[in-house]
């Protein structure tokens, strides 16, 4: 679909050309008839998004206003009255939710209803805690709120409900890790799995139904949220330095699978990019850390079974990746395995592991750059260049160079990256022009 401004400009130009009799009236009408529905579609879409956003904000304000009205006279009310009043927002919001489901109301109604239901659940639980002076941990409060709100996005498909639900689960997960109290980790893991399933189901179902922009937006949301949840869960369940390898393995797995999905399925192209990029970032940070020599000085000398499991998962992803010709990230997915081999040979006291890993990453990056040049792929080029830069960054900082030399080196690296991209774009456009000319001939 053409851009809104372009269609407006075209219609105005055609009207001017028609008035000057450059083209005849029939042609003007035919072109206008062709483009008018697209313009209306654009306008309807903008209106819908605007109304949906306003409805969500309105619901938030109404919910906040109701809480303030209660809060004003709160201390003068008896305890049972306070308890019943605490329930009232949830009952009203539940009524509105049922109304929206039964009548199959529009998007704006759903956004408003989901926002109201979520804020009502939070305020209801907060008011009950206040009425009975319930103390305790913030994570327990957030868990109850998460349980109360987790199904809302599935019943009332809405972006606001999805964002709020993910935010609540993340807040709960972070507060569990932050509480530093040795709770039952298995129970926490089961709770997390239950709470994470709903947003994933919502996301998978929404891929079939939603507009393309919404699919991409949902993909970014779920990719970032799941990365945060995975990182906090790993930090919670594995409390030693080995966890860095688990981040690396998770990042590699996400990156490889997103790449496979990108090349395999045309339909999910836009949706794979958020996973590719978040996976790449998740993979890159631990990859830099395990190239630093100091990392190995405090490392636990025993191999953690969870690390072996994660390395095997990354290996499985690498096999799938190689099979689907995803070379660079699949090669990086072998790194958790390399780390384990170095661990098994007890090389951590020698200082060699960091150098070995840097050498392998450097080779993969150089291979990637050559591959990018042969396949004319900008994505692979940038992917590999960033990997190479990570090696340069880590190895370069180990040396005793002055700040000025480092600054110059960084400028050269940056200029090299830009130049490589520039050359690639130029060659690609020249190839495209040649292909077009060949076709026209």
């Amino acid at each position: 679909m053409a851009a809104k401004q372009s269609i407006r400009w075209l219609i105005s130009e055609i009207e001017t050309l028609g008035a000057k009799a450059v083209i005849d009236t029939q042609t003007v009408m035919a072109i206008k008839d062709h483009y008018q529905p697209q313009l209306e579609k654009h306008d309807n879409f903008s209106n819908k998004v605007g109304v949906a956003v306003l409805a969500a904000i309105g619901a938030l304000l109404i919910g906040g206003g109701i809480i303030l009205v209660f809060a004003h006279n709160w201390q003068d009310l008896s305890r049972p009255a306070r308890a019943l009043l605490a329930l009232l927002p949830v009952v009203v919001a539940a009524g509105l939710m049922c109304f929206c489901v039964v009548r199959e109301k529009s998007r704006s109604w759903r956004e408003a209803s989901a926002t109201l239901m979520t804020t009502a659940a939070i305020s209801c639980f907060a008011l009950i805690c206040q009425t009975y002076y319930l103390g305790g941990k913030f994570s327990t409060f957030m868990f109850y709120v998460a349980i109360m709100t987790c199904l809302i996005p599935l019943i009332l498909p809405s972006l606001a409900g999805f964002i709020l639900s993910l935010t609540i689960v993340i807040t709960w997960q972070i507060s569990v890790v932050g509480s530093h109290i040795p709770d039952n980790k298995l129970a926490d893991g089961l709770k997390l799995t239950l709470l994470v399933i709903v947003p994933i189901v919502y996301y998978v179902l929404s891929l079939r139904k939603n507009a393309s922009w919404e699919k991409i937006f949902d993909s970014w949301l779920i990719a970032i949220a799941m990365s945060i949840i995975t990182c906090t869960a790993i930090a919670h369940f594995v409390n030693d330095e080995d966890s860095i390898v688990l981040y690396l393995a998770t990042g590699c797995t996400i990156s490889v699978l997103a790449n496979v999905s990108y090349y395999a399925r045309e339909r999910t192209r836009g949706c794979s990019i958020p996973f590719m990029l978040t996976g790449f970032v998740m993979m890159l940070i631990p990859l830099i850390i395990i190239q630093v020599g100091d990392f190995y000085t405090h490392l636990d000398r025993s191999i953690n079974p969870v690390t072996i499991l994660f390395a095997l998962i990354a290996l499985a992803a690498a096999i799938v990746g190689f099979w689907r010709a995803v070379w660079v990230s699949s090669a990086i997915a072998l790194m958790p395995g390399v780390f384990l081999i170095l661990h098994a040979f007890n090389t951590f006291d020698s200082g060699y592991p960091a150098i070995v890993i840097s050498m392998i990453v450097g080779l993969i990056a150089l291979g990637g750059i050559i591959l990018a040049m042969t396949q004319w792929s900008l994505a692979i080029l940038n992917y590999s260049t960033v990997l190479l830069l990570s090696v340069i960054l880590v190895r370069f900082f180990d040396g005793n160079f002055s700040i000025l030399v480092r600054a110059v080196a960084f400028i050269i690296c940056g200029a090299g990256l830009l130049a490589l991209n520039g050359i690639m774009i130029r060659i690609k456009s020249r190839k495209l022009t040649n292909a077009k000319e060949a076709l026209s001939c």
Binding site: L87, A93, Q130, L134, G136, I147, L151, L154, I155, L205
Partner: protein, 211 residues
Amino acid sequence: MLIVNKKILFAMVILTLCVTIGLPLAQIVRYENVINNGTSYKVKCRAYDPYDPFMGRYVRLNLSETIAEKDFEPIKNLNKGRYFYHRGFVQISTDENGFVKYEKLIGDNEKPISDKNYLKCSIHKEYQHDTESNKGAAKLRITVEDIDRYYMSDKLAKSAEDAIREVLRAGNENSDSDKLVYVELKVLHTRAVPMQLYIDDTKIEDYIRKQ
């Protein structure tokens, strides 16, 4: 709608309604039951005035007491050593003035007896040098958990903190001072609800107004 099947959608709506209304309702019923059928205990406390972004201003209660380790049976399966931190329950009764008396400590891996009242607590062993004179003088600090807040209006909370601090300071400086700061709890088995904060047997709200 994402879920096309009407039966599944209906079941999910019912489930959501049950959870969103049932969960807070269950909390209300549970704590009303404690208030109506529980036993009253007075627990001495200290307090200060913090703020919660979700629930507003409250007086933060600190219900902790130091006891001599030798007066209590050792807790089963407790991690041994000079220092420890453990979570568990303390069995409670009342003295002649209605104040709480700690009877027995149990770890959270043990099941509390159903007809007795307990407070959930954390148990810290206080540091003691292993010298001849210190033998048998090891102390445990019992801190009641989950009862740490008493909500008040914005205007009263700060005054409450000042009044409590004044009373506690007077108590420290003059051992004859008989003013006490305590909270009345209703306890039923292992659940407890703070009912009222008192200074010198006067409700804190009335005490502040009188001042």
